[in-house]
């Protein structure tokens, strides 16, 4: 324990004045005598920081008025110095933590990463929407797929809205979940999931297609789905649906496949991988439209019933299901869903 020399304090224990001022810069501190009485919790660090700033201002004023500056590194064995040390350490940790947090925030929450993919004009979006229905043929030079995210995102949200409308008008009941959650989950799941799958397949086939390009390609392909579903959720004829499915769905699929092929032509990709890639893409796209149309005629409740009791047919006949052609398809889908349900149940 050092004694206090040359300070002007009147209290026997030394007071706070000079040594607090010196304590901010002192390096000689007797650690053995430290105790835990002056704790500093991190929750209070902000206030402590503020208080330290104020103390520094007070200290500056005091220093300006005093002529003698005193000695550095004077330790008086008081709780004031120990508290000062703990506060200093905690303050430094606080500052370091704040710096790291703001660095992490600037790195991950920086939406500027996505900014170049939203750099479009309305004319471009409109043109791409129209072109997504026109299958281009016989392209002999490699074409680059434009990577843009605004159009696909808006199309996915539109699909969600249309799906919601369809579910509501067909009286779909979803027990374990909400209507909105299911719609969003289905559409975004398809868009992100199938894009990742196609990206993975392209990676396997050594074709250089970026994730943004597959997202963009698939997103614009959903335009056909939106149109078909919008029409058939309001006009309930199954034959009309099949015609639209083939025509509109087929057109948009052909367009996507052709674009894919065109993007792959220049690379050293053989015939088989190209076939696999484009075949998968086409099949998934068409099947998704089929699924969206049939899935929300009480089929969700049907699947749950299938799991509980194997006697009920998964798809309930709704009054508007009139054409005979539909019943054959219905039975086929019934059988598929039943087997799926049995498989799921057995797992």
């Amino acid at each position: 324990m050092a004694s206090s020399d040359g300070n002007k304090n009147t209290e026997p224990w030394g007071g706070f004045d000079d040594n607090i001022i010196q304590g901010t810069g002192s390096a000689v501190i007797d650690i053995e005598n430290m105790d835990d009485t002056s704790g500093s919790s991190f929750e209070d660090m902000g206030e402590m920081h503020q208080r330290m700033k104020e103390e520094e201002e007070v200290a500056e004023e005091a220093e300006a008025t005093e002529e003698e500056t005193g000695e550095d590194g004077e330790f008086l064995g008081m709780k004031g110095i120990k508290g000062q040390l703990r506060r200093q350490v905690a303050d430094e940790v606080w500052q370091a933590g704040k710096r790291q947090a703001s660095k992490a925030f600037n790195l991950y929450a920086n939406i500027d990463i996505l900014r170049p993919y939203f750099d479009v004009e309305p004319m471009q979006v409109r043109n791409r929407l129209i072109e997504s229905m026109i299958p281009i043929r016989m392209i002999h030079f490699p074409q680059k797929i434009a990577g843009e995210l605004y159009g696909p995102m808006m199309l996915v949200f539109t699909l969600v809205a249309i799906l919601l409308h369809g579910m509501k008008t067909s009286g779909t009941v979803i027990r374990e979940g909400t209507l909105m959650g299911t719609a969003i989950g289905t559409c975004f799941g398809y868009w992100l999931g199938v894009s990742s799958f196609i990206y993975f397949l392209a990676y396997l086939c050594n074709a250089q297609i970026t994730m943004v390009q597959t997202l963009s390609l698939l997103g614009y392909g959903l335009f056909g789905h939106c149109v078909v579903l919008f029409v058939t959720y309001n006009v309930h004829f199954h034959s009309l649906f099949y015609i639209l499915w083939l025509v509109v769905g087929g057109l948009s699929t052909l367009r996507m496949v052709n674009k894919q092929v065109a993007a792959l032509i220049s690379r050293t990709v053989g015939q088989t991988p190209r076939l696999i890639l484009c075949g998968t893409l086409g099949a998934l796209h068409m099947l998704f439209l089929l699924y969206l149309h049939f899935a929300y005629h009480k089929i969700v409740e049907g699947i749950l019933d299938t799991l509980e009791g194997p006697n009920m047919p998964p798809i309930q006949r709704v009054a508007r299901d009139l054409p005979v052609v539909a019943t054959a398809a219905m039975n086929a889908v019934n059988a598929t869903v039943k087997t799926l349900g049995v498989i799921l149940q057995s797992q």
Partner: protein, 229 residues
């Protein structure tokens, strides 16, 4: 006078190396300002009665409602943004849209949480979209505008509920359709009056479409709401 100058020169001699050419005696008074009125005002909001604070905030919210009712190009909504109004409207709408039946078999209507989540996540996504398209509006300002512009739809919901209390189904449906369509277009128009200004001029359509879709979904939820008996 000479003595004063000499003493002042001595006192300020030490300052001569602080990039002042020559010894320029500085005269005057330096006073620490004691209790400026603005400082007093800042601290006194803690001491004022709670009634004053609440009334002040309510007045600000009310003023913004008036701005939404008559959307003209003023920046009051943007400058002093607050989220009280949107919260109030969102909670009111969600409460009114709750399906009456608690039967687990029948999902009568969108539950409170669904409406709440749709409104807030929809607003967040529209804000992000407008920022990514190069908008100059800040995050919370955009949330504020979108939230306040739900007000016509809330009014429509109240009207729909009243209309559903009685009357024939077809007639009430037509009335509800007209009311919801009118309020939805009013909401879209009001919010674009504020939001579209903060965009480069050729991209206004790209910002308007998500707003249109957002209010369309909310309007559709209001229109298809039918309270279970």
């Amino acid at each position: 006078m000479a003595e004063v100058e000499e003493t002042s020169k001595l006192m300020f001699a030490g300052l001569s190396d602080v990039s002042i050419s020559g010894d320029i005696p500085v005269e005057g008074e330096i006073n620490v300002p004691v209790g400026t009125p603005s400082q007093d005002k800042e601290y006194s909001t803690l001491d004022e009665p709670v009634k004053d604070t609440i009334l002040r905030d309510l007045k600000a919210v009310g003023k913004k409602f008036v701005h939404v009712m008559y959307p003209k190009k003023s920046s009051a909504l943007l400058r002093d943004w607050d989220l009280w109004g949107p919260l109030l409207l969102c909670v009111t709408l969600a409460l009114m849209l709750q399906g009456g039946s608690v039967d687990s078999k029948d999902d009568g209507g969108p539950q409170f949480a669904e409406v709440f989540v749709i409104i807030w996540f929809g607003s967040v996504i529209i804000t992000l979209n407008s920022k990514l398209l190069g908008g100059t509006i800040s995050f919370f300002q955009s949330l504020c505008v979108l939230g306040y512009c739900i007000m016509p739809l809330t009014v429509a919901m109240v009207v729909c509920r009243l209309v559903l209390l009685g009357g024939s189904w077809v007639f009430s449906f037509i009335v509800r359709l007209i009311v919801v369509t009118a309020s939805f277009s009013w909401s879209t128009f009001a919010s674009t009056a504020f939001l579209a200004d903060c965009q480069p001029p050729n991209r206004k359509a790209l910002v308007v479409y998500p707003v249109f879709l957002f209010y369309f979904v909310i309007g559709w939820m209001i229109l298809t709401f039918s309270p279970s008996a």
